[in-house]
């Protein structure tokens, strides 16, 4: 099990590399680096699913680049950069439980109240999803039809769903805060965690490799001219002002 801090540094390495390069070959390579990681984590389905979620935005990025005069290759490169950024973070979050994240934040000296807030928020997502379904059921039982009406009406129809959800989220937060205080939350600045994260040899190895590879990437970026495939597809000049 990888220390989440090492995992995060590796994630940031890929993230920074994707931001560094605009060259399509480099970006393809950076994207492909993730694959062995996905293999090791055995989360193909979930990872593919998270990329599908960003598909719309990816297409939008491609179209916006292309329409405003960039070459086909450049537009593809920008799209790939976006996809890489999104997928590497998805990969991080889907392989790290909120508990581990919380531990990592704490032991990275983030104030405990902040890391706890973050972990609790993540943990409450499925609970709130269930609540949302109940609210929808309750309002439908009062005759609310969510699939009828024009665009404006449909948006207004969500008010009877959002308000109970927000109110119950606020109520839950207040109750949680009171429960926490009754159990001594924040009483002592010296918290002793039950599980102490220790970086193992493999974690240090991963961090070192990330730094070295990134240094190499910077070198390549500065001093090695990378080829660009010449695909002569460009947006026809139908708009004279671009």
């Amino acid at each position: 099990m990888m220390d989440p801090r090492a995992k995060f540094i590796m994630t940031m390495g890929i993230f920074a590399a994707a931001l560094l390069f605009s060259n399509i070959y480099a970006l393809i390579l950076i994207f492909l680096i993730q694959l062995p990681i996905v293999y090791a984590a055995k989360s193909w389905r979930k990872w593919a699913g998270s990329m599908r979620a960003g598909l719309l935005l990816a297409v939008l990025i491609f179209v916006m680049n292309f329409v405003f005069g960039s070459t086909f290759v450049f537009s593809a490169a920008m799209t790939l950069r976006f996809v890489t950024l999104m997928s590497v973070f998805s990969l991080f979050f889907m392989t790290t439980s909120p508990d581990d994240l919380g531990l990592a934040l704490e032991q990275a000296h983030v104030p405990y109240t902040l890391s706890f807030t973050f972990t609790t928020a993540v943990r409450l997502v499925p609970t709130m999803a269930l609540d949302a379904q109940t609210v929808i059921d309750a309002q439908r039982s009062r005759g609310l039809e969510l699939d009828k009406g024009n665009f404006m009406k449909r948006i207004r129809n969500y008010i009877p769903i959002l308000i109970p959800l927000i109110v119950s989220a606020i109520r839950r937060s207040i109750e949680l805060a009171e429960a926490l205080e009754s159990r001594g939350f924040g009483a002592s600045p010296n918290r002793q965690p039950l599980i102490v994260l220790r970086m193992k040899a493999t974690d240090y190895l991963i961090i070192t490799c990330t730094i070295l590879i990134y240094a190499l990437a910077v070198y390549v970026y500065l001093y090695v001219p990378l080829p660009t495939p010449d695909i002569p597809i460009k947006m026809p000049k139908i708009f004279p002002w671009f």
Binding site: V135, A138, S141, R142, G143, I163, V167, S168, R171
Partner: protein, 273 residues
């Protein structure tokens, strides 16, 4: 009339919650659905107004298969009052809250005013008409949620755990109100764990366990069947338990409410009141 035929239901990707239920609830009946947590009580009633569609078998409300209708249409006749009023309340005033469903069903503003006024009086909520539902106490919010369903006068009313969080007086008032609704000819179905509440009003009890009906008898019968009660994690009501202990003295076990027990004891003592 609400009928189910071999009703089965499973949430997607999960095991079956309802495993073959055949029931008939006639118009104007008073029914309590009881059973342990996870038995499928709430899931069952959600099939009555179309919120959930059977994965096998069918549910018919007044002759109409729920597959051939919609939640909005079925809700006109089947009013479901959810357990937690905070999952429903969203309006600026109690009056607006009550008008919500009537607007959804397409009633005119005059009718809405009239009906809202009536239900406010019936449930003793008139003084809160212009208050925000969020500032009311727990018990009052539950009354508003109940009013919000009764306002459109559905034929069949389902109450999911109406006694939770209510003090004794409120429960008493609620019980009398339910009896009144039933007397007006409405079908009343309550989901409850509250054996004491049920003992005093003696409905027909449908006992669910692990997705199946394991008992369907009048309260006096079912709440005195020790074996059945054990299977469903229920206990005898107090009066019933007392009569059970004293059964060797010839006292009738089926007297599970205060009035019947009083009569039986007086009779046994050779006394009249």
């Amino acid at each position: 009339m609400i009928e189910t035929e071999s009703l089965r239901f499973a949430y997607s990707g999960s095991s079956e919650v309802l495993r073959g239920i055949d029931l008939t609830i006639n118009d104007g009946e008073f029914v309590a659905i009881m059973g342990e947590n996870g038995a499928g009580k709430t899931t069952l009633v959600k099939t009555f107004n179309g919120l959930l569609m059977p994965t096998a078998g069918r549910v018919k409300v007044d002759g109409v298969d729920t597959h051939d209708s919609s939640v909005a249409r079925l809700s006109r006749d089947v009013g479901l009052v959810f357990q937690n009023p905070d999952h429903q309340l969203f309006s600026e005033t109690v009056r607006e809250e009550l008008a919500f469903s009537l607007r959804n069903f397409g009633y005119g503003e005059d009718t809405i005013d009239r009906r809202v006024g009536t239900i406010l009086e019936t449930l003793d909520l008139t003084r809160y008409a212009e208050s925000s539902p969020f500032v009311l106490s727990g018990g009052e919010r539950k009354r508003v949620a109940l009013a919000a369903v009764l306002v459109w006068n559905p034929k069949h009313i389902i109450l999911d755990e109406p006694t939770i969080g209510q003090d004794y007086q409120q429960k008493d008032r609620l019980r009398n109100f339910i009896i009144q609704l039933n007397a007006q000819g409405k079908t009343v179905i309550i989901i409850t764990h509250d054996v004491e509440f049920v003992a005093e009003c003696k409905p027909r009890i449908i006992l669910l366990s692990k997705g199946l009906v394991i008992g369907d008898r009048p309260a006096e019968d079912l709440l005195t069947d020790g074996e059945l009660l054990d299977k469903a994690s229920l206990t005898r009501p107090q009066i019933g338990a007392l009569m059970h202990q004293l059964r060797d003295l010839g006292l009738p076990e089926h007297a599970i409410d205060v009035y019947s027990a009083e009569q039986a004891i007086l009779h046994a003592l050779g006394r009249k009141k």
